[in-house]
C-alpha cells in the first residue's frame, strides 16, 4: 500500500537540542514529499517540500531513497517549534492527491 509512516506520535526535546521527526514512505515511483505543520490554534500549513531543497525556519528534510525516508531535522529546537507535524506525499496516477501520515506532536521544553 502507498503510505507514509510517522513512527512517533509524540516527541519531546529541550530547547537548543537537535530534533528529528521521522517519516518513512512506501511508494512505487519517484515520490514528491512534503512536511506540513500545524501550530496551536492555527491552520495547517506547508513547511517545506523536498523538490524545493530549501530550509524553512531552520528545518531541513532530505529525501533518502535507499532508506525510503524523508526525516525533518533542525539542529537547535526552539519553543516556538512546538506543533503538530505531518509528513505527506503526492500520490500520482488515477486519483492524484496528498496522502498524509498520522502526524507527530513535537513539544520543545524550556
Amino acid at each position: 500500500a502507498q503510505r507514509v509512516t510517522q513512527p512517533e506520535k509524540l516527541l519531546s526535546v529541550f530547547k537548543g537540542a537537535p530534533v528529528e521527526l521521522k517519516c518513512n514512505y512506501s511508494y512505487s515511483g519517484s515520490p514528491e514529499l512534503f512536511w506540513y505543520v500545524q501550530y496551536s490554534r492555527q491552520r495547517l500549513q506547508l513547511l517545506l517540500r523536498h523538490i524545493s531543497r530549501e530550509s524553512i525556519k531552520g528545518f531541513t528534510a532530505d529525501l533518502n531513497k535507499g532508506e525510503t525516508s524523508f526525516h525533518l531535522k533542525k539542529p537547535f529546537a526552539q519553543e516556538e517549534d512546538s506543533a503538530m507535524y505531518y509528513c505527506a506525499f503526492l500520490k500520482r496516477g488515477g486519483s492524484e492527491k496528498l496522502v498524509f501520515g498520522k502526524g507527530t506532536k513535537l513539544t520543545v521544553n524550556p
Binding site: R43, L44, L46, R49, Y86, A88, K97, F100, G101
Partner: protein, 114 residues
C-alpha cells in the same frame, strides 16, 4: 488576505440530522479540496474540484455525503443523515492550480454528532 474561510467553526448535532459546511477559497484559486480529519489521524481527501468540476470524488461516501461548488468559487459539503462516526474535523483547502501547487488550508469545522 483572509485565506481560506470556513463556517461554521463548530457544529453539534444529533445523529440522523443533516449538516452543511461552507468554504470560501482564496480568491483566484481554481482547485478546492475537502478533507476529513479524524482524531489522531492526518487529513484524508474527500473530494477535489477544479473550477466547478468534481475531478476526484472517489473517497466521498455518496450515500450520505454530497458536495457542490457553484460558479467555481464557494463550496458546500453536506451530510444527510449524520452518523456518530462522522464526528471529525472537516477541512477545506485551495490551490492556485492543480495538486502540485501548494495547498492552503482553512481553519476547519469541528463536527460533533451526539
Amino acid at each position: 488576505e483572509a485565506g481560506v474561510v470556513q463556517s461554521p467553526r463548530y457544529k453539534i448535532i444529533e445523529k440522523k440530522q443533516p449538516v452543511a459546511f461552507w468554504c470560501n477559497p482564496i480568491s483566484g484559486h481554481n482547485t478546492l479540496y475537502w478533507y476529513l480529519q479524524n482524531l489522531g489521524q492526518g487529513p484524508e481527501l474527500l473530494i477535489r474540484y477544479e473550477n466547478e468540476e468534481a475531478v476526484d470524488d472517489s473517497q466521498l461516501p455518496k450515500d450520505r455525503f454530497s458536495a457542490e461548488r457553484l460558479k467555481g468559487v464557494d463550496s458546500t459539503l453536506k451530510i444527510q443523515p449524520a452518523e456518530l462516526g462522522d464526528s471529525a474535523v472537516y477541512l477545506c483547502a485551495s490551490s492556485l492550480g492543480g495538486v502540485t501547487d501548494t495547498q492552503y488550508f482553512g481553519p476547519g469545522t469541528r463536527l460533533t454528532v451526539l
